[in-house]
Symmetry: C2
Subunit: 187 residues, 2 copies
């Protein structure tokens, strides 16, 4: 098929930064964990993005994991630019701050990561920003026995093919670090 | 919660390399697209991983997107090391090669990416490998009208909380680049 940016699944994340003194959020599907100890995350943002301007200036940003009921806001933050609209106002985001001064967080998102830039890779169309996760916030109502519960988080999944769409998480297939034991036992 | 490697969803990918002359595959949940034009992907692999040894030597690797019916093999490739077992034999993978000599691909996986390393970021516990996607293969039976169809790919999703498990993709929530227009119209 030729070179394609084709991976399943991709997240639908809201990446936040303070730009020109105001909090702004953009939707990003190209991101994931980059390091374990200490925790780091990477996000790929197209050069020229308004949010990237704030990240480059402050060297801090946030990653907010939205839930399926926020799909309109998530899509809106992907099709508009903070250079032209006030996304916080349009989406009625409640913004809060944690440890980092310039990493605005969205209260409606069940999971929020506060990040400090540790590397920036200038790739051809995008910048790959690697951030150290300085703090993690999980909404109280998304915990079960004090632990984050994905059934309450209800994350959004971005799927490009056959049509660009958001999907929910489906049924449990198997337990990890466990179902493969069967094959192991056969050796 | 303190710094956590918490993002939803994460993929369950099989990263392949030729190590000590034989194809080997490891399971990786920490990866995603890193650049658009040209297409690039990043994967975070713990230092000392057997697969990483092959990637570092050859500067080529593969990313294979498994489907839910491969869950046992995917988990097995995450809990074993190619230094000790022959994963291809254990999982009965049919291995093929495309454009790149040292990027083994798994025929049973509906999507395969052939990658050439363009950057390696030595982070603390992991190496973040950025690869240029040189070729993309999609299994014929996973196409609809010549386009990849996620309903046929049936990708695996890795979820860490509340328990480490693999999940399937769920229902469509909304159309992307579309559902947010409603909020846009309100401004």
């Amino acid at each position: 098929m030729g070179p394609q940016t084709m991976v399943y699944p991709m997240p639908a994340l809201l990446v936040g930064a303070l730009v020109d003194g105001k909090p702004n959020f953009m939707t990003a599907a190209w991101g994931g964990i980059a390091n374990g100890e200490p925790p780091m995350i990477s996000v790929a943002l197209r050069h020229g993005r308004y949010t990237l301007k704030g990240i480059t200036r402050n060297l801090t940003f946030s990653v907010n994991v939205p839930s399926i009921d926020m799909v309109k806001a998530v899509d809106y933050c992907g099709i508009t630019s903070g250079a032209e609209v006030d996304k916080v106002k349009a989406c009625q985001f409640k913004v809060f701050y944690g440890k980092l001064d310039n990493a605005p967080l969205v209260e409606q998102c069940p999971v929020n990561l506060e990040c400090r830039v540790v590397h920036t890779l200038d790739l051809e169309s995008h910048s790959l920003i690697v951030g150290r996760i300085e703090e993690t916030h999980v909404t109280q109502s998304c915990l079960t026995n004090g632990e984050p519960d994905v059934n309450k988080v209800k994350p959004l999944i971005y799927i490009r093919e056959p049509a660009s769409q958001y999907q929910a998480l489906g049924e449990v297939v198997a337990k990890a670090f466990s179902v493969g034991e069967e094959l192991k036992a056969r050796q």
